[in-house]
Structures are given as structure tokens and as C-alpha cells.
């Protein structure tokens, strides 16, 4: 509930204005050679790590932008990539 997210367009806003879009795993793996296992890994397997995680968020009740942030899952706070306070 107390999560604050810095939207690149709107600035610091309450977390419940945003929609979670999963861990940032990079672009969808390409093409014909994609194995079902690799597809599964991309779509469903998450690291769920206790620490700094890169995530997609959408400012649903604001500008509508999708963007990535780093979040420390232990403190539920947005941080810089290396874990410092954002």
C-alpha cells in the first residue's frame, strides 16, 4: 500500500495508480526456433528474488505509460539499479 513509484512523465505517485506488468525479462524471444521450454521460461518463470528487481509498471490511472523501475522487494521501495534510494 505504501509503495511510491516515480513515473517518468508524472513524477512520484502512489503505487495504487499503477499496474504491475511483471519482471523485466527483455523482448519476447524471437522466432521459429523457440522451444516450448524457452517460451515457458520467458512467459511464466520469474526470479522472485528478495532484493532489487527490474519490473514493468503502467501508470494506469495517469498517463498510461509503460516503463521499468527497480524495486527492492525486501522494503517494497523503488530504488536505483544498484539498490540506492531513488
Amino acid at each position: 500500500m505504501s509503495l511510491l513509484i516515480h513515473c517518468p512523465i508524472c513524477g512520484r505517485r502512489n503505487g495504487y495508480e499503477f499496474r504491475y506488468g511483471g519482471e523485466d525479462k527483455g523482448a519476447y524471444p524471437a522466432g521459429r526456433s523457440l522451444t516450448p521450454e524457452a517460451w515457458y521460461e520467458y512467459v511464466h518463470a520469474n526470479t522472485c528474488s528478495a532484493g532489487v528487481v527490474a519490473e514493468w509498471w503502467c501508470h494506469r490511472h495517469g498517463c498510461g505509460l509503460w516503463f521499468t523501475i527497480f524495486r527492492d522487494t525486501r522494503t517494497n521501495r523503488q530504488v536505483l539499479e544498484h539498490g540506492g534510494r531513488s
Binding site: 500500500m1 506488468g21 516450448p36 517460451w39 503502467c58
Partner: protein, 983 residues
Amino acid sequence: MKRLTSLPTLRVDVGRPVPFVYKNQTGRGFKGDTIATALYAAGVRIFSRSLKYHRPRGLFSLDGESSNTMMTVNGVPNVRTETTLLAEGAMIRDQNAIFTARNDLLGFMDRLDRFMPAGFYYETMHKPASLWPVAAKMVRKAAGLGRIAPDFRFSGACDEMYPAADLCVIGGGPAGMEAALAAADQGLRVILLEARPWLGGSFDYRERGSGEDAPLYRQAADLASRVSTRAAIRVFTRTAMVGGYSDNLVTAVTEGGPDDPFDYRYLEMRPRAVVVATGSRERPLIFENNERPGVMLPDCALRLARTYGILAGREAVFSVGHDLGLEAALDLSELGLPVRAVADVRTKGHDPALVRGLADRRIPFYPGWAAAAVEGKKGVKSVRLASCDGGQYRILTCDLLAAAAGHTPAVEPLSLFCGPLAYDGQTGYFLPRTYPAGVFAAGRIYGLEAPQNIRISGRVAGLDAAAFCGADCRGAADAHRNELAALPMGRPASKWVAFPGPWRKHFVDFDEDVTGKHIRQAVGRGFGVPELIKRFTAAGTGPGQGGISGHNLPLLVAAIKNPSRDRTDIHGTVPAPTTVRPPLRPVFLAAYAGSGREMVKRTPVHDAQAWEGAVFRRVGVWHRARYFSADLDVSEEVDNVRTNVGMLDASTLGCFRIFGPDALSALQRVYAGDMSKIKDGRVKYAAMCNHDGCVIDDGVVIRIGENDYMFTTSTGRAGETVEWIRYHTRFDNWDFHLVNQTDGTGVINLAGPRARDVLERVTDADVSNQAFSFGCWKDFSLSGGIPVRCLRLGFVGELSFELNIPASYMQAAWDMLRKAGSGFGLRPFGVEAQNILRLEKGHVILGQESEQRTNLLDLNMGFLFSRDKDIRPVGADALLQAEKDAGRLTLVGIRMTDSSCVPPDGSILVDDQVVDPVIGYVGTIRKSRALDAVVGMALVERAWTAEGTRLAVYDGGGEPSERHDATVVRMPFYDPEGIRMRM
């Protein structure tokens, strides 16, 4: 009882009586009274019986720190009468007693305490298991707090508010008000929260200032008027902070007063800085029978007199450990309460002026003494005072013992922000180790006692907060800080714990009846830290949430674990207190739920349909017309569409425009089919899948210009569609724009064999089958120039025109069609009729025929999936895999053998010949009048999909549950060639 009426500090209006009913007798309080003070003035001393031992309990404090004074008011149990204002005609009952709190038939429980050691619930009550149900019943009857009626419904009005501020000051005492003023001076917008109905804190009811300053209550009034008239300071009284979270999220609940339109209002705010100035309470003194009615905190006795005009007893003894206790004794003596003696656990460090004052009034003063025991069953009869070394004692008769061991800071709000607390040897308090950025504290919470110090510390905190928010005032803050440092600091608080003993009737926690003996037992069992002892003994788990036991519990643990040490020097041996968690006060869940308004959208022709008798239901965020007729099987509406013509309000369907150089690419990504093949003037049916290939949406796409498309979505998906498309194109840097036109577009679906006849009457456009055939779309105007975009679709299986109309024209268009159709039998129909009509046609509704695991192929809609597009659509990889998977369910049409049997939607299909007898389930099934049969759609395993296969529908709702025969049949059931919709 006659009240003191001439005190300047009085907060009750003795000219305004407020009647109430207590145990079928009428009483009278005054405006400004809380329920507890009105009862006390009326002579009530026993307010309740305790949870476990049924001991009598009375007024002990005035801020709701214990369950002692929780009562049932107007049928609502566990009302905290200490903090609830007396309302006219309140019906008050005591609780947790057989007969009454005064004469409780379960009072004998008190003598059974040796059979109820710490943790006895865990250890005693589980063997033999067969006895447990009986025991549980008895325990539940005897123990507990108020009883809630099974049909109780919360009837209060709740509200919510999300104010914005730079600074939130928690606590409206002198320090908090100074902080608010100092910050407002620096240009900050300030919110000030005060739990009591008025500002002033500990100054509000005190007379004595230091030196030549104005009396404290006058200082408080002066500050309060300055705070209340500052536009930049918003004051919320009767508002207790209940939660504090990371990054300064503060939640609070306001209890509505007589003039408020709500009973409870939830507040949530995210100030940039927080100042906590919640002051301090008194630490209860632990001695034998320390919670007898007639024992109360000195501050409680003082406030009863000064704020409410009530002298708490006829003869009082004081046992204190702090100057405020001495001040209370002296003040009450001056107000006319005979004080027989004042004991103080401290041997030195008293305020000499107060000691002199006691001597002047010939009140015996015992430094280095404390109360050891109280005699009396239902009230105080006498007190045994003893010297702290145990060498001497005296017994004094009295009916009031004002006792406290010293101060304890009201540190709970602060600890929510700051985390674990540590023992501070100087003050004897538990204080935060670290403060997060933007959180400051001020006032008595730090152990400050001198009024001047309290006020300056408030200014320092306010300026610190302002500097944190960017104001240029660090110098001013430091100047005040130096001023504060130059003033004499407060004396160390008393660290007294208790006289040695078994502590059998020495109550540490009132709510849960936890005694010193229980703590001793818990430590003896190896529980070393308060956090575990709390769980084993339940100390601090009651409604007061540690308000009574919070400070004493770790001190007792230290004293038990280190019995040899001097009990007044326990520094270094004190374990950390238990963790405080929100909510800090009991809060109705309804208060958290807030106003609970149902947020719903209405279509532009909502009222028009309501006039025609529509019954609405919620679909997604919308209210949609469900049916217009009295018969629940909507046969008239269905028949009318099949034989004449009907009109359906489909405005809730999502309507979007996408345009820009990469608009087509974006459509290719999210739609399974190939959108590059949309022909001009033609409508393309299309479906969206998720990564698993499961269908999440279907609708139609049309091309309205160069790089310009319009598409529709189902009602439930409209809100998420923009997000969805943006998400699945987030790595592509494509250039396109998306506009959600749902709310601005109304849709009327005109359907039935006479639909063209109706439409021709309201437009000059050529809507003949030659000029405008099935599967096409066309822009034209209705009479009067109403622009429409018309799509010829066939969801209900008849000739139909889907008219997309700007929302502002909807009412006019509806009326016009209604009038034009009067000669053709036109009548509106609702979603129930549509459900049957489309079912007869074999058209699926996502979420009815499909669920989360159903993919495009399962629904026989593989034709909507294009395998070789340039842009790989979402779900393609999963669909390509699923094509090889024979273990999936497939959608089939079924017909019941018995045409009078309509099983419920969702019924399972079974085959007893196989190991796992559940072979599928029914989506929708209805009686079809057009077919004179019961038909439905079902998802079944591959082996049962062949036409003519016999299936058994299991109707679990029947008693005895039954199996009904059904057969797999070809779809669509109605008009298989599709002639009628192409007419």
C-alpha cells in the same frame, strides 16, 4: 454528583444536560462528556468484568488504553466509552458478565487463577480431544468481551478523505501546535491530527506553568487559536492516527461528531514530512490488586476534575514516580479532594515547589515509598504503602488511589515509522534507534517536562521538517536547538518496577488478565524475550494493544531475569519491547472500506430503457439492461427478435480508434488473425489471445482510412485494451495512437427480419441488401443529421444493423427508432434475450463458453489465427504447441434428450466408464423456443466430440442428484446456412 462548575479548564457545558439510559435507568451527563465520564459522574464505578477472571474493572485512564471501560452502546459491543462522546439517549449496557458487572455470577473465576497459568489454553484444553468441543463452548461463554448479535449490521455512515500536505503533525498538544505554526511560517501546508476533541494536549487541563508564564491551559488556548486561524494549517480533531508506513504514508480515522455527516472517516495522506508529538502517558504502577475500581492514573483523576468537573473520590492516596503526579495531587487537593498521603518512588529529584506545596497543605509526603497493595473487593477500601526497600509500611483508608510509576512516551506512532525501539538509560524510555528521512519527533515523547522545553522542541521539529521540505530555515532550527540545549533538561524518569513477590494479583495487562505471575511462569518456561512472552501469555494482544502493558512488560522481564540487580538500575538488561503494528486503535472494517460507493457507468440510453421497464445488471463497470419483461425466460423478447424486430443497447462494447504509421503493426501483434487483409468497407471478426493462446477478447476491426482503424472489444475488456496493446508493443518503438471512444460512442443493435423496414424510415441512405450486404459497414446519417457508422453483423442470427452513434445523439436516435418501429412490432430486448438468441446461433460469449484456460483452437476458432504473418501475434507460440496437443477440451453443441430438462450453466459432463469420470462441462444451456429443444454449448474431451455422442449431464443441484441424457449435435442450431442474417 455535583460537578465543579467554575473551572476555566472545563470542557463540559453544565448548562446542556444530555440524557442517557444505563441498565434501564435514565441518567444525565452534559454536553462534552464522554460516556465514561458521564457514567462516573452518575456514580458508576464498575464498568465491566475482566476477560478471564471476571474481576470488576473501572475507569483507569481516559484515552482507551484498556478494555476496562468497553461497553455495549446502542447494541454495538466493545465501544470505547472513554473516548466516545455521550450522545443524546444512548443505551448503555455493560458486558462480559452474568447479571451485571457489579454483581457478576462468574466472579468466582477470580479464585481459580491457579488453575489458569500462562498458556493454559495451549496446554490444558486439548486432552482428551473428545472434551474439547464442550470445553470450547464453556470457555467461549465465560470469557471474551462484548457479544455481537448474529443479525448485527453496521449502520453507521463512513467517509474517506485523501488530503494533501507538506507536513503532517501527529498530536495537537503544545509541541505539535508549535511545530505546525513554525512549519506554516516557512510556507508549508500542514495537517494537524489530534485524537481528542480539542487541541491542547497536556497543557489543556493544567494550571501550573513555570515561573511567570501564563497558566498552561491559557497557553494551550492561545496556541490553539493561532493554529485554528492559520489558513495553511488544517486541523483534524477526534482523529487518531492508526497507521504509519514507509515513505510517510499516514492513515487516520476521524470519529464523527454530532454535526458531521459521517460516523467514521478514513484519512490517508502522503506528506513529505511527519512530526510525531504524541506526548506521554503514565506508566501503570504494579502492585497487588492494582486494577481495582478506585485505582486510576493520577492524570486520569486530574483530568476528571479539571476537564469534566468530577472529583474522582472522597478520600485519595497518591503513589507516583513523577512530578506530574505530585502536581496532580496538589492540584486536586486545592480543588477540594482530601489527599491523605502522597508516596513517590523517587528519593530525590522532585520539583521542590511541588514538595513545598504539599507541605503547605499538610499532606504527608513519602519519598522512596510506593503502593504495595489495595484492599477491597469491588472498590478501594484501603491502601498499603511501603518503603521501596520493604522495611516500613502504612495502611491508609481511602476510596481512591491515584497510582503511576512514572511516564511512558506514547511512542507507538513513532515506532511505526522508525522500527524497533531501544531502552534509553537516561529517560528510562523506549525510543527509536534511528529516524527515517523526513520523520521528526517533539515534546514529552522525548521525556521533556518543562513547558518551555516542550514548546521549543516543537518549534525545532517544525523547522527541521520545513528545512527537509526545502525551506531555508536550518539556521533558525539550529538556533532553537541551542536554546533548548541551554535550558535545564528533564529529570530522569522513575525506573521502579514492583516490590518482590509472586505477583499473583499484580496485573500487567488488564485486557487479557495477565499478571506478573504469568510473566514469571513464561520466563520460567524459557521464553526470554517480550515478543514471545506476549504470544504465550497474550499480554498486549487485547483491544488496548499494549497501552497498559507495553512499557512494563520488558521491565518485568528484566527484573525476573536479573533478580539480584538493583531494581532501580536495570539499564543494559532490558529487552526490547514488542513490535507495534497498525491499526493503533480498533477500527471498524467499515471505516477502512470508506464510503463504499458503487462506481458504475450508465449508458446514454439508461433512462430511456428504465422507462420501458428495464431491469439492470452489472456487467464489468456498466449497468446493462437485463430484460424488459416480467417473464423470466424472456420468451417474448426472444420471439419478437425472431419474428419482428428488436433493439439492444450495446453501448458498453469497447470502441477504439488506432491510427498512425505503425497502427497496422500494432493490430497484427495483438490480434491472432491477419489484419492486413481487411477489405475496404468490410468488417473483420478478430480475436486477441494472451501468451498462452487463451482467448481474452473478440470483436471486429474495420479500416476507416489510411493507417486508420476502428475496432471493438467486449464490454469487460474495454478498460484494459489500451494498456494491453501498449504492453505488447513496448519493445517496438512503433508510432501509433490509440483512442478509447467507448464512453463517447453509443451502440444500438437493430435486429430482426423487419430491421431494414425500420431503418429505412429514419434514413435516406440505401440500406438494401444489394447496396449494403452482410459483413459490410457504412457511414450515413439518420433523419435530422445524426451521424451513424453502421455495421452489418449477425450476432443474434437475424438481419441486423449495429448503429454506432455519438453518445450525445443516442437518446434522439433511440426515440426516433422506437417511433419508426412502432408499426413493425419493434421492442427493446436485454442481454438475457441476446444470450439465448446468440446461443441458438452457436456464437460464443467469452467467459461463458470459455474460461481462463480455453484457447482459440478449443473454441473451433482456429480460422482466426494466421500462422504466417510477418509480425508474430501474442499467443502464436502457444497455439502452435496446442495444435499438437490432443488432451484439450473442445467446444461442441449439445441437445438434451428430455426437452423439459434445463440443467444449470456450468453443469459437469460425466462418463462413468472412464477412470476420471468428468469429461467436460456445460457453458450456457437454455430452452430454445425457436428449436423447441434445450440446447447448449459445452467443452468436452476430444473422445466425446463426434456428432451423435451420448453424454450425461450431472445435475448436482437436484436431490437426489441426477444424470440427464444429452447428445452432441452440429452447430449452429438455428439457421445453419446463415440465410436469415444475410437477408
